[in-house]
């Protein structure tokens, strides 16, 4: 446990003394701000139009602002996550510091979990920016907080899951750009897999839809924690970290 925290702390140190963390936070703050503005603006307009026309549509902040915001943010996350995870092992290999880690009395798994955890915390810092955006909805409106909480949980799980794969990809190369590009491609594929739902409802489509990462966010944004989705995320995290462990081990034999 202590070793995991040692590794994790050093990674966070590197994120925050280098421009990476600040650039990511700035990009995310801008994008999530724009999304929040656009979606709440159209919500306000719709409610004004409803009042003017005299017909009262049922308006709901949770359904019409927060849930779509989470879906959008999940997609933004897909693009930012490779930027978080790409350096984790690639940079260690390039600098040769992997020799320090590999010859220190820490287990591979501690290194992997420490690094992955630091990436998850970095991603959580991005989500904290989103919390600031949402605070305005709570100040000027009265949304239900529970779907917001589950939405955050879902976004965090999705991020943790992609970061686990990003960590694995980062062990495959010593070049950050390559790791980033492959991570990005993987995130994109996992995202567009659920577009196949428009091809019907055959078994293969259902399987692809289940593998697709964003489809599991939906129930979370609606305030539902579905065991099926939870199992999906947790098992994907395990798979990603397991592959990382295998990759590190094979690296030793080949090194």
């Amino acid at each position: 446990m202590r070793n995991i925290w040692t590794i994790c702390r050093r990674e966070l140190y590197s994120y925050f003394v280098s421009p990476i963390a600040w650039v990511l936070l700035a990009i995310f703050a801008l994008l999530s701000g724009v999304f929040t503005y656009i979606i709440s603006a159209s919500f306000v307009r719709a409610s004004l139009e409803g009042q003017m026309s005299g017909q009262s549509f049922p308006m709901n902040l949770n359904d019409q602002v927060i849930a779509p915001l989470f879906s959008n943010i999940a997609v933004v996350g897909l693009f930012l996550i490779p930027l978080i995870s790409m350096r984790l092992f690639a940079e260690e290999k390039r600098q040769g510091t992997i020799e320090l880690l590999a010859t220190s009395p820490v287990h591979d798994l501690e290194i992997i979990i420490g690094k992955w955890l630091s990436a998850v915390l970095m991603y959580a810092a991005l989500m904290a920016v989103l919390l600031a955006d949402y605070s305005f909805l709570f100040i000027y409106g009265n949304p239900d907080w529970k779907p917001v909480a589950t939405g955050f949980l879902g976004a965090l799980l999705q991020g943790a899951c992609l970061l686990a794969f990003g960590t694995f990809i980062s062990t495959l190369t010593r070049n950050q750009i390559v790791a980033g590009a492959i991570g990005f491609a993987l995130a994109l594929i996992l995202w567009i897999l659920n577009w196949t739902t428009s091809f019907g409802n055959s078994v293969s489509v259902q399987v692809l839809n289940y593998i697709s990462i964003v489809s599991h966010m939906d129930s979370f944004t609606k305030g539902v924690i579905d065991t099926k989705d939870l199992v999906y995320y947790v098992s994907m995290i395990f798979l990603g970290l397991f592959l990382t462990a295998r990759s590190l081990e094979s690296m030793r034999w080949k090194a």
Binding site: Q95, T103, R252
Partner: protein
């Protein structure tokens, strides 16, 4: 302290280390000598548990590197060829991180980092970013990193490469001062370094063990039967021919060659018979004749000759790069 038996490391296309066996006693400083690509780094990486051997066994402090890597890692300090530094960290933060990583108890971390910074002379740059340090400082931070948990065994891969002569000297002194409390293996392709620092030499070439002996023994092996250089000042009492003839009469001398002459100073190269050390007799002969003996030295770089002989390289061709790198 370190036992290596039949160690072999094979890659897909070539054999990096081929059936090497040696042992290192506690408190020794051992020079691991060989040309570039001889398998030094590979052997060290096996000893530090960075990679497993293909065949054979290696134990450090009684623990097998393959079966109990965790125990071995606790007892080893390792400085790879490129010091494993994080450029974005400050020296003190970096050493604190390494201390935590090496399981130094939390209460002692501050004290230990302070000690190793003093010892490796990096205390004056403690709050500087590693990215901004010069090569000499980086190397010393690398060394500080290796000794921070006070390991039984220190493994240093070319600790003086890329340093200037003053830094090389300082680093050697530092390494020598670490002996006794630590067992040290250091790799190098610079012969004078081995003579300056180590008690024992392990020479490998093309993945094979060529020789393992004490520095003294290896030097003896080389200097016996080889040439010595003699400089004599006759104060005008004798000319070069007289001195030449006198030297030829010395027992054990096989051949005398005139080298240079400046006024009354003459330099000769004296070759002794195989297995004889003519130096004491030559010295006595010169002094008895009433001349001044200015210089008497072995005219070969002894270890270098042994090295070239053992690794089977051509002296002229191989000597140039070796002395070139020595800076």
């Amino acid at each position: 302290m370190i036992q290596v038996e039949g160690l072999t490391k094979r890659y897909a296309r070539h054999v990096a280390v081929n059936n090497i066996s040696f042992a290192v006693e506690k408190g020794d400083i051992v020079g691991f000598l060989g040309p570039n690509g001889a398998g030094k780094t590979t052997t060290m990486r096996v000893l530090t548990c960075f990679m497993p051997p293909t065949e054979g066994r290696a134990t450090v402090a009684g623990f097998d590197v393959f079966d109990q890597p965790h125990e071995v890692k606790k007892r080893i300090g390792y400085l790879p060829e490129a010091p494993p530094l994080y450029p974005e960290m400050s020296v003190e933060d970096y050493l604190t991180f390494v201390a935590r990583l090496k399981n130094v108890p939390a209460g002692e971390i501050k004290q230990r980092t302070g000690q190793v910074m003093e010892r490796c002379a990096v205390a004056d740059v403690r709050s500087k970013l590693i990215a901004k340090l010069s090569k000499g400082y980086r190397q010393r931070v690398g060394l500080a990193q290796a000794i921070i948990h006070n390991p039984d065994v220190l493994i240093l891969d070319e600790p003086t490469s890329g340093l200037d002569p003053k830094q090389i000297n300082e680093t050697r002194e530092l390494i020598k001062s670490l002996a006794g409390e630590h067992t040290i293996i250091l790799s190098t392709h610079i012969l004078p370094e081995v003579e300056a620092v180590c008690q024992k030499v392990i020479i490998i070439n093309k993945g094979r063990l060529v020789a393992t002996d004490s520095v003294e023994n290896l030097k003896d092996r080389a200097s016996v039967g080889s040439a010595i250089q003699v400089q004599v000042d006759t104060d005008g009492q004798a000319d070069a021919v007289t001195v030449h003839q006198r030297l030829e009469q010395v027992p054990g001398v096989s051949k005398v060659l005139d080298r240079t002459a400046h006024g009354n100073r003459f330099v000769f190269e004296v070759e002794s018979l195989q297995g004889r050390n003519a130096r004491p007799d030559v010295a006595r002969a010169v002094v008895h004749a009433g001349w001044n003996l200015l210089e008497l030295k072995s005219s070969t770089l002894s270890l270098e000759e042994v090295f070239l002989e053992l690794t089977g390289s051509q002296p002229a061709a191989a000597l140039a790069p070796v002395s070139g790198v020595a800076q």
